[in-house]
């Protein structure tokens, strides 16, 4: 919708908005000493995203501290409390763009006490960058980060073997780490795993190919991120449209308008498609798919659109539009993995929480804690009865009304939920729907 006078000709800029580069979200996790901040600083610096006033400030601080190199890690310093303690507390979001792509980095701290921050960053990520210190090899932290990334369904994992300059760019060191890591990762679901030998400090294989690693035939990190194919990671098969808001203008010129606004969570919707609406189960046809710029021929994730239907049926927020022969499961008993995020109290069997799934709120009771996973060893403790801050566990929930769910592995939007403490209103858990009951 142009808010000014509409003209019939489209300008180059108007076309560019639809053909501009796509978006890639990646998450990094790591602690101060493994070079994560330096790597991000390097990506921003070498891709010319850093502004000169930011760089000057960082150069000055590095000089004041007597550092040999400009400490690019300072570019990602955030809050005062973090500067004082020399740590990263929270998820920080960074942005940079190349002609090929725009990147959103969710930069998260690596220590175990910040697992919830990593879960937050990974929840929407297309790619997870795992940093491994070439001198230390695959350590507990690398395993934990990889486990969390796969738990959150991040489809691509890139292992940056960092500080190669400190091991004389040894191919042997790199290969040993690759072998160790691959062996560990074979126990997890990793659809796409890539290894790159880098030095964030001096810039090897970050943006520019390094001459120090002639034995490496892969691409530098940035070029890998620019060309990674992520479109097919989205579920375009199963139509899922959670109704977010009903648009009914109270005005003269659009009095009969009734549209269902929402964000496409799966599949491709087209006018003329027969659809089923849950929970009523009624079937009707898509009359049109509207946007403020006019109707569109199809809608796919993550478009925000307004769907009009041919029949007047009672539909409200929290309902789900899908296809007659392809519906999510309507479940009140849900098997899920959860990450507990609340420091004040653990998840306990029998307690009730508010639950938000797509656009629907309900209440849920924890029927059973099936097991708790040790995020470092992947060991399952089946005697566990509670799940504490930063722990992962598998639970059985009983919900007050049916939720329209898919397994998280099939759809990261319709398979995800949060639990909210009803007394404090805090978000206390991130949940992922596991397997569905057979033939339900």
């Amino acid at each position: 919708m142009s808010t000014e006078t509409t003209t019939s000709t489209t300008t180059a800029a108007q076309q560019a908005i639809d053909t501009s580069a796509d978006l890639l979200r990646f998450a990094t996790a790591g602690s101060v000493d493994d070079g994560k901040s330096t790597l991000i600083g390097r990506l921003l610096f070498d891709s010319k995203t850093i502004f000169s006033d930011q760089l000057e400030a960082v150069e000055q601080v590095s000089k004041d501290r007597g550092n040999d190199y400009t400490d690019l890690a300072l570019l990602t310093d955030g809050l005062r409390a973090e500067r004082e303690q020399g740590i990263t507390i929270d998820v920080a979001y960074r942005y940079f763009a190349t002609p090929k792509r725009k990147f959103i980095i969710a930069d998260t701290p690596g220590h175990i006490q910040y697992t919830r921050n990593m879960v937050t960053g990974a929840s929407t990520a297309d790619v997870a960058l795992i940093l491994v210190d070439a001198r230390k090899g695959v350590i507990e932290q690398s395993r934990r980060h990889t486990f969390l990334a796969t738990l959150l369904g991040v489809p691509h994992i890139v292992v940056c073997v960092n500080k190669m300059d400190l091991v004389d760019y040894s191919e042997e060191v790199f290969e040993t780490i690759r072998k160790d890591f691959t062996e560990f990762a074979s126990r997890l679901r990793v659809p796409d795993l890539t290894f790159i030998p880098i030095s964030a400090l001096v810039g090897d294989n970050v943006v520019h190919r390094s001459e120090q690693t002639p034995w490496f035939d892969g691409r530098p990190l940035l070029s890998h991120l620019e060309t990674l194919h992520v479109a097919s990671d989205r579920n375009l098969q199963d139509v899922r449209f959670p109704v977010q808001y009903v648009i009914r203008p109270q005005s003269h010129d659009a009095r009969d308008y009734r549209g269902y606004a929402g964000t496409v969570a799966g599949g491709v919707l087209k006018p003329g498609d027969t659809v089923r609406v849950l929970p009523s189960g009624l079937e009707t046809t898509i009359e049109a798919i509207d946007t403020a710029d006019g109707p569109v021929a199809e809608a796919y994730p993550p478009m925000s659109v307004t769907v009009r239907l041919t029949d007047e049926i009672d539909i409200s927020r929290g309902d789900m539009i899908c296809r007659p022969n392809n519906s999510p499961a309507a479940l009140q008993d849900i098997d899920a993995q959860i990450c507990w995020m609340d420091e004040s109290a653990p998840l306990v069997q029998g307690k009730k929480y508010a639950i938000k799934h797509t656009t629907r709120w309900a209440r849920a009771m924890v029927k059973d804690v099936k097991y708790r996973v040790d995020v470092n060893t992947l060991h399952r403790d089946e005697d566990a009865t509670e799940i504490r801050l930063n722990e992962i566990g598998r639970v059985q929930l009983r919900v007050t009304q049916p939720l329209f769910v898919d397994p998280y592995r099939q759809n990261r939007r319709t398979g995800a939920f949060i639990l909210v403490d009803e007394a404090t209103n805090k978000t206390v858990a991130a949940g992922m729907v596991g397997s569905l009951p057979h033939a339900s």
């Binding site: 908005i17 960074r94 479109a231 606004a261 995800a416």
Partner: protein
């Protein structure tokens, strides 16, 4: 058959619309904070898109410091008229008059607008306030949630933020508490301009370069006008300048530029080497943690 890949600007647009709708669906009484600057205008434009063909179902609020560039007010009124949206004005001069806040020695009303904003929000019962902040602007913003919880004093506690996973936003609050919502969190300055160009968005003319009478103060170019008159010993010069941000007229400097159209600004922004706030805002230079401190007090 298309590739079903959404461009990055359309992805950002879709995300913002999703956020705005979510607030309206879940909160009791939302309100959009409108400064007349480009970010709040883009946000208002997105709000209009989110509910089309219906009108925007919430009011907008302008915290009027009394130090507005005239063209900012004109632009505000054009938008209000065109969208048929309700405008609430919270006046800082009026708050000074009745003693709610006191003028600061340096003449900046940046800090004293916070109590005025909080009072107006409370009086109107707003439990959700949309702000045009972007995470690329500043270090403290980079760590703020899209739904940013505020206690009953409007304060932000950076160490105690609600986890925000997927697009499952949690706006639940108790009486007196509120959330600030930042639908433009993931946009950069360049994204904003590319979008303004593509959507032909109506902005104050201050953003576009023209010859203006300016005075150079420590590398910052201030327009010579009623808000920033010449001081003794200063000389004015005529230069082609434009504004990159639009704050209070007595504090916002212009930058040398010949970019007179939206397209030229997009080109300029793509090549520019200074952050927006570093280049033009006297009020953000006070200390390294200036923004963090103001946000804790309830500022945007």
């Amino acid at each position: 058959m298309t590739s079903h890949v959404l461009s990055q600007l359309r992805s950002l647009e879709a995300e913002s619309i999703h956020i705005i709708r979510e607030v309206v669906a879940e909160m009791q009484r939302p309100c959009l904070l409108f400064s007349g600057g480009k970010d709040s205008i883009v946000m208002l434009h997105l709000a209009a898109k989110a509910f089309a063909p219906a009108r925007i179902p919430f009011p907008i609020m302008h915290v009027d410091t009394g130090l507005n560039f005239p063209s900012v007010l004109e632009t505000r009124d054009r938008w209000v008229e065109r969208l048929g949206v309700q405008l609430v004005v919270a006046s800082v001069p009026e708050a000074i008059e009745r003693g709610l806040v006191q003028e600061e020695p340096n003449g900046s009303r940046n800090r004293i607008q916070t109590p005025v904003l909080l009072e107006a929000a409370e009086k109107n019962g707003f439990d959700a306030l949309f702000g045009g902040g972007r995470r690329d602007e500043e270090k403290a913003r980079a760590k703020e949630r899209v739904f940013s919880f505020r206690d009953d004093f409007g304060q932000w506690d950076p160490k105690n933020q609600r986890p925000e996973v997927w697009d499952l936003y949690n706006g639940r609050v108790h009486q007196g508490e509120s959330i600030r919502v930042f639908p433009l969190s993931n946009w950069t300055e360049l994204d904003i301009w590319a979008y303004i160009e593509a959507e032909e968005i109506d902005l104050p003319d201050l953003y576009f370069a023209t010859e203006r009478e300016v005075v150079d103060r420590g590398g910052m170019l201030f327009a010579v006008n009623e808000f920033t008159p010449l001081k003794d010993g200063e000389t004015a010069e005529v230069r082609s300048v434009r504004y990159r941000t639009v704050g209070d007229a007595n504090l916002t400097a212009a930058v040398a530029s010949t970019a007179a159209t939206r397209a030229e600004i997009v080109e300029e922004v793509a090549a520019v080497r200074l952050t927006e706030r570093g280049a033009t805002r006297g009020d953000d230079k006070v200390s390294e943690a200036a923004m963090e401190d103001r946000k804790r007090e309830g500022y945007f």
